[in-house]
């Protein structure tokens, strides 16, 4: 099973940096790309109530907030590593 990376492309996340995150595959190696399934997802529903923590990404079942390209790359690498150690 690949690791699922769901990048929120809803309005609030998109304008707060999510747009850039959608190009995450350009920051990963071909080997890494083999192991992840990168998807967009329409509003994860976490942006309500004036939540200042957009953009969001979901890696498998884990939600990460305030994501940048750097943190996302790092989190994906960690997830790959964790899976390999299992």
């Amino acid at each position: 099973m690949k690791i699922t990376v769901q990048i929120c492309s809803g309005t609030a996340c998109y304008v707060m940096g999510g747009a850039e995150l959608l190009s995450i595959s350009e920051h990963l190696t071909p080997d890494e790309l083999e192991q992840v399934d990168i998807k967009g997802i329409m509003c994860l529903g976490l942006c309500e109530n004036y939540n200042p923590n957009t953009p969001y990404v979901k890696i498998d079942d884990e939600i990460i907030k305030n994501v940048t390209i750097e943190t996302l790359t790092e989190r994906i690498r960690l997830a790959i590593k964790a899976k390999a150690e299992k």
């Binding site: 492309s9 809803g10 309005t11 609030a12 998109y14 304008v15 707060m16 999510g18 747009a19 959608l22 190009s23 990168i38 998807k39 967009g40 997802i41 329409m42 509003c43 529903g45 942006c47 309500e48 109530n49 004036y50 939540n51 200042p52 957009t54």
Partner: protein, 390 residues
Amino acid sequence: MNNTIEVAHYNLHKYKEKVAGDCFLMNKAPDERIVATLADGMGSGVKANILSELTASMLQRFMLANVNTVRAANSIMETLPICSVRKVSYSTFTSLNISPDGVTKTLEYDNPELLWFRNNEFLQITKKTSSIETNTTRNTTLYAEIKLEFGDRLIMFSDGVTQAGMGFSATPLGWRINNVKKYIKDIISNETTISAKDLSFNIVEKAKEMDLNQPKDDITCAVVYYRKTRELMVITGPPGDRNKCPYMVEQFQQFSGKKIVSGGTTSKIIADGIGADLEVDMTDMHSDIPPRSIMKGAALVTEGLLTINKVINILDNENITQIKDIDAAHRMVELFIDTDSIYFLVGTAINEAHQNQNMPVEMGLRRISINKLANILREKYLKKVTIEYV
């Protein structure tokens, strides 16, 4: 009425001529009839222009008043100025009087023959003649009554089309009606639902090409496309009262035309309601608005406000015949352009996230954006628009 009479024309002036010698006029009668006339004034330049406009506007007035075709023809023939040298009327014409049910009265005088196209072939129009003696000459007009069916087209053009290319070694006698017909048939069989606008444009551009891009005469073509009304539904925004979600889903399912869903939460409501998958199209990457999503049953699924605001911008400012970068907003624009009647189902829930002070772009209220969009569609694009708020 679920039928639409789509009419469009395209015209090029004779090379280096500043005014048109051909004149095309189209009007809608209060009873929804469409009347249209293409008149070709003899010669070119200002004289031709005045005469073709005079002829066309007289015919339009007769047709609008639904005057008996023969009587209209005779009155025109009696009134039209006659060329003192050539003893013929100054302006040739083709005139149509189309009822919403498809019954069409035609009247022709010396233009290339009116073409009637159905199911990949040209139909014969059985015409009667009406002759009238004017003080100098005898003029014969042709008239007919036909019944259009959905998908039928009527195509008329000035002789600038049939005579295009005349005198060149490849086409000494010009393009000629049979070749024009063949060309039209090819275009339509390639694109069976080609719009009146695109078809008339194609024919005129081809004629111009045959004249080596320097038209030797005015070139005009008008097309009538009689077809079922195209309906489009846009669902956007979650309902103010969440108990109304099933109503939205039901409206979506029952609507028979094409459907657009705009907005993340809204898309989820519909997808859950109809049990469909919702998937973001990761190949649809553009910088300023989020990618579209794919959902069974919807022609287009997009993000909400950013996309709608971009659509408004495009419809208001861009030359939409030259769309290049196709993102979700442009896809929405294409669906709008290609439709006659648009039904907006607008949810009134306020998205608090958009009121966040940290947002780098200004997010107005959905209702305001949709009203603006509806007004542009009505006023600039003459679409029939209805809005329902839930």
